[in-house]
Symmetry: C2
């Protein structure tokens, strides 16, 4: 899905790259998905992009900053997925949850980077902001659930979906379950037997 070489950049390429920053983010995204966030290397990203091992430092002060940019990009993509899911005519909250798990299944490495705690949102405010914007839709949909304890209900829903996504990306589920999780069926089944306790929330009777 992710081409590791964004632009080969032959031996007599121009001195200036053009958009090295974006190229590095894309190359790193590919590396993360291939090797996991822990073993991604600044130097290899540079190699793939076709620049010297120190060029990245003109755009990112540190390796973690590069990873933060990749994670930030991930949160933007997650928000786009949420927006698409929120347009669904049926159960909006379920659709958002399914989008969440689907995103994690499709980009396990990226998901682990975004939520693995290796980047540290405190040191990267832009990352925190992007994450907050991604979850705005989710909070909004959770708040209008009609529960008498909306805070707890929303948190429970988030925890349930977040946990399911983690079980997928950390490979804790059997193959068939992982498959069912990826396309949303598993979450649908879970929600049928396990959800807000308040009255009349059974969707699609």
């Amino acid at each position: 899905m992710w081409a590791l070489s964004t632009s080969p950049r032959g031996p007599n390429a121009p001195f200036h790259h053009g958009d090295l920053r974006q190229a590095l983010v894309e190359a790193t995204t590919g590396l993360i998905e291939r090797d996991g966030p822990a073993s991604v290397s600044l130097r290899e990203a540079a190699r793939i992009t076709g620049v010297s091992h120190n060029a990245p430092y003109r755009h990112f002060p540190t390796r973690e900053a590069l990873l933060a940019a990749v994670a930030e990009n991930g949160f933007r993509r997650l928000r786009a997925a949420f927006e698409e899911a929120a347009a669904a005519p049926d159960d909006r909250l379920l659709a958002l949850g399914q989008a969440y798990v689907r995103f994690a299944s499709a980009n396990p490495g990226l998901f682990r980077l975004m939520f693995g705690g290796d980047v540290g949102k405190d040191a990267h405010p832009d990352l925190r902001r992007a994450a907050g914007e991604a979850f705005a839709l989710l909070r909004e949909a959770g708040a209008q659930g009609g529960s008498d304890a909306p805070r707890e209900a929303a948190l429970g829903a988030w925890a349930l979906v977040h946990g399911l996504a983690h079980l997928v990306v950390d490979d804790q589920l059997s193959d068939d379950l992982r498959e069912d999780a990826a396309d949303g069926r598993l979450l649908e089944r879970i929600v049928q037997v396990f959800g807000p306790r308040t009255a009349g929330v059974r969707r699609r009777p």
Copy 2:
């Protein structure tokens, strides 16, 4: 909580350490809690333990094997916590969930190592076994929930608690929520508005 130096081992310590393997596991556990699983170094663990940088290789074929041993130890401790919680007279499943979140709150680094996917259970069967044994109690308690879809109910309960634990260790919760999560109150409140939909699952009312 974890002393980083297990035994200073002065300059004229005996050639043989005695129980280097265990000492390395303990030192590494401390390092993980201090710096996170990603930035723990074999050489520093050796330094702390007071041996040369290559001594660990007599006990662990690779850095990942050392981390796997630490994670395995973590699963044993988690199982002990489960056993203690299962003795609770009240709601056993809730008590197990609270123990789960409490363990994560008390050992965030270790929890991230155990579930972060950086170790890979496939390559370390002992780790997989220890994890399975830790969850035996949880599965058992989940199965006797009396739901008409026990598989989905148990998975939902696991996902909810697992997700809540991840939200804690990955620092996604506000301070007061994290505190409430650590001592089990938050999970109790969540379960009151969000739980199995089937009737009569409240044990010992």
